[in-house]
Amino acid sequence: MAGIGFALERLYRSTSIADRAASFAHASVIAAGPCLLAVLCIWLISATINELEGKTTIAAFRALVIYSFALSFVVTAPIALVSTRLISDELHDLDVAAVPGIMLAGFVFSAVATVGFGTLLFGVALDLETSADVAAVANCTLIGLVWVACLFASVTRDYNSVTIFFAAGMLVAVVSVTLSYNWRPDLATMLWGFSVGLGVTLFGLLSRVIATFPFAVTSIVTPLRALWRASIGYWPIALGGLFGAIGAWVDKWVVWLSPFGTQIQNGLLHAPLYDSAMFVSYLVVIPAYAAFVLHLEVRFFRNYRLFYSSILEHATLAQIRAHGRRLRDETIASLTGITVPQLVICALVAASAPALVEVLDMQFRQVGTLRLGVIGAAFQFLFITCSSLTLYFDRRMVFLALQALFLVLNGGLTWALLPLGQTYLGLGFLAASAISAAVAYLALVRTLYRLDYLTFIANNPAVRIRRRAAKAL
């Protein structure tokens, strides 16, 4: 008998609902933590070493480490985000054995990219001695691999390992850099000393990752191909990661290249007045990041799972919507509950900036930048959390747009407001962070209010696959 009833079952069985983005989104949030620890580390190194008179080695070392952090962050961010997304997919599909291969592929891509770009920057663009050049490239590569390892560890929500090994590595770095400077005060020695600390972090994280996924990698070609294909498939995430990484650094680059930047030696540019004020600002928002990770663990993830599992367990629409409302309300309440006190703290820090400058042995003319930076960092926290949360709901195009917005605003406003002078350095960052935070917050709230529609239609892989199949004809 003619009839198409047989097709109905097949159409009906497509119940895949996007929740695989969850563990991936954790990674993007947790990435901010180590970044802050790195800032703390550089500040500690500067504080523990008394520069010999007439030498600028520490300044050059600090600048090189900052360059390494910036370059490795920018280069590895797209690779790390795409490979963690791919790992999340494999975990969702319960193909745990594939994870080590993808991680290895992520390391290979990151190492190759970082060595390549590091050689261009340190070996070609800058006028470094060969020994310092090699040490800087090694340092940059290790930092890049640490970023990637951090994200891999956080995919399994192994936050403690990330924090402990990063803190331990940084502690070792501070000690070994201090010792090596006192033994032989040149750039290469200090950089290798710093690399020892990075090695501790990297291998510590790797030990955790290997312990979690104890599977042999039989072929590297397959995961390399898979990662390459994923980079194409998840291009908004890769590009968003790249924009986000550049956005985080672009205000510094603009200031370095402006009249406020100075050249130390070997062609190294930096803006010590701006940089140190901004780094201190980032440290002020550490409590907010910690509270947010706690919220993710305790409330958000529970509500998130409840919402998606209720759908797959054939709940009624009323039940699904109730879970969605709870997820929305508690997320907004938590964000408000964390951001508002943090803004109050930042405001207090801004008000007491003159005293803080004195305590931290900074210059009084940095007060303005510190004030603007502290408030800006609070808004940047809101921006990072809101934009990262959109990834939980697989809103990759929204994530990309937000990162692009912040990049453009941070670069553009910092540059445009340079004529206002030293006192207002940081106003561009503040304005960019505030505007981006507002937009990201609205995007997140809009996502949360349309969660059922997004889950079932706009963002449903089963619907998307059919749409793509139709277009592919």
């Binding site: 008998m1 003619a2 009839g3 198409i4 009833g5 047989f6 097709a7 109905l8 079952e9 097949r10 159409l11 009906y12 069985r13 497509s14 119940t15 609902i17 759908i311 797959l312 054939h314 709940a315 009624t316 629409l317 009323a318 699904i320 349309r450 059922d452 529609y453 079932f456 239609i457 706009a458 619907v463 059919r466 749409r467 199949a469 139709a470 277009k471 004809l473």
Partner: protein, 518 residues
Amino acid sequence: MRVATYPHPGRHVDRSAPSDRPIADVCMIVEGAYPYVSGGVSAWVHGLIRRQPDLRFCIVAILPEPPPPVAKYGGLPNLDALHHLYLSESYGSSGWRRPRSFDQAEFDKAADVFLRGGGLEELARVIRLLAPLVKARRTADLLDSTLAWNLVCDLYDREMPHESFLHFFWAWRALFGGLVATLSFPLPPARVYHTVSTGYAGLLAARAAVETGRPAIITEHGIYTNERRIEILQADWIVDTVDKGFAIDDPRRDLRDFWSAAFESYARACYEACAEVLTLHGANQSAQTLLGATPARMKIIPNGVDYQTLSRLPQASPDDPPTVALVGRVVPIKDIKTYLQAVRVLRDQVPGLNALVLGPTDEQPDYYQECKAMAAELGLSETVRFTGQINVAEYFPRIHVNVLTSVSESQPLSVLEAGAAAIPTVATDVGACREILFGRRDELPALGEGGTLTDVASPEQTAAAIAALLRDHDRRQRFGRAMQERVKRYYDLDLVDTAYSTIYHRHMDAPSLAAAAG
């Protein structure tokens, strides 16, 4: 034959306006069958087109999704085009701008009314509301808009708030998506639209009648809505969340009701739109009437067989080794296993028995393997032979009794073909088998029995009936002659072809309704 596909307006699309395309005399609309399934309706469609050489045909083959499977039938000289309607497509692009004249809220409401139990009038309203979007080729995101989402939520809250929403969502999407695909598919121009079932094919025929004003006709082999209803009731992928128990007045609806209501709506619209509601046998007509078919438009045109050729075939001699045959595809609905069990019983009673299974074995290979294994297990390897696809005329001269053990049939051609060759049949009492073997009530003069009816899945009855015929040559001859005469009088292919030719020409020459109204 030109294969025209209309998968997506952006690519590979025949963008010529309908009036630019050659107008077929008859556009046949086939769902999930021709030319991708062999036998049954497909064979009927192929034969009908082949035997109307003076008419130009095109086919709309309705499939769930691309790509189409391998065709089982080749082209025909008078078959000009094969169009594919994929239910997973929306036949339009998406875009920010929609025609202002399109009101999605109204469209959604109208579609809801139609799907919940409407008829032709409701369908016409849906078509009218959708027209601006179809014209602008902007139907792709019709299913994905927030308005459509609100519709499905409202519908769910109103109809079955106790159901699994996930299941409801996919049910709605499949139904609504199929409706959108069918209503936005570029309709090939034709003088007559001929569907072979209700369902989506019937829906397209109804749309063609409404949009073009050209006549639509339907020839229903089995009752589509009944078959879908059975399929839906048996579907293990629909979760039962409403336990109605023994309460017959429980007003709550579940997903099965939802599906059934939609298919009944399609059928109602189709019957109302069709100028001729044809079927193969009388048993189908009551079901058609129940869903709104007008008795004045209803008619029976049975399947026809090539009487002239088959009646000239020599008959098996009583001295030949006793041979029985089941002519049909090796698929579960034919219940080949009951046939094998009957042969097992029969073999002990009829020495030297040959049992043939004459038909394609590739449609459900797993079932074929099961049957072969069963034959071996029953020790029938020497008795039973699966021939695969063959020309039955070559085998009929060796066959004493034809057998049919199907659990469901419409009007089995194999019984008619065997009858034309004066071979009696033992058949299950399904579909039109009673009518064929014993004659219709209005058969005057009565021609007598042409075989024996048995219960479904009853190997003992089947074996006993076959044995009785094999042992009694005179009875076999008598039944064979009755069958041959009945086929000559009612089921001769020439009669059927003439009937369709007359119907086609009458409707082809008729002015379109719109023109008539003008």
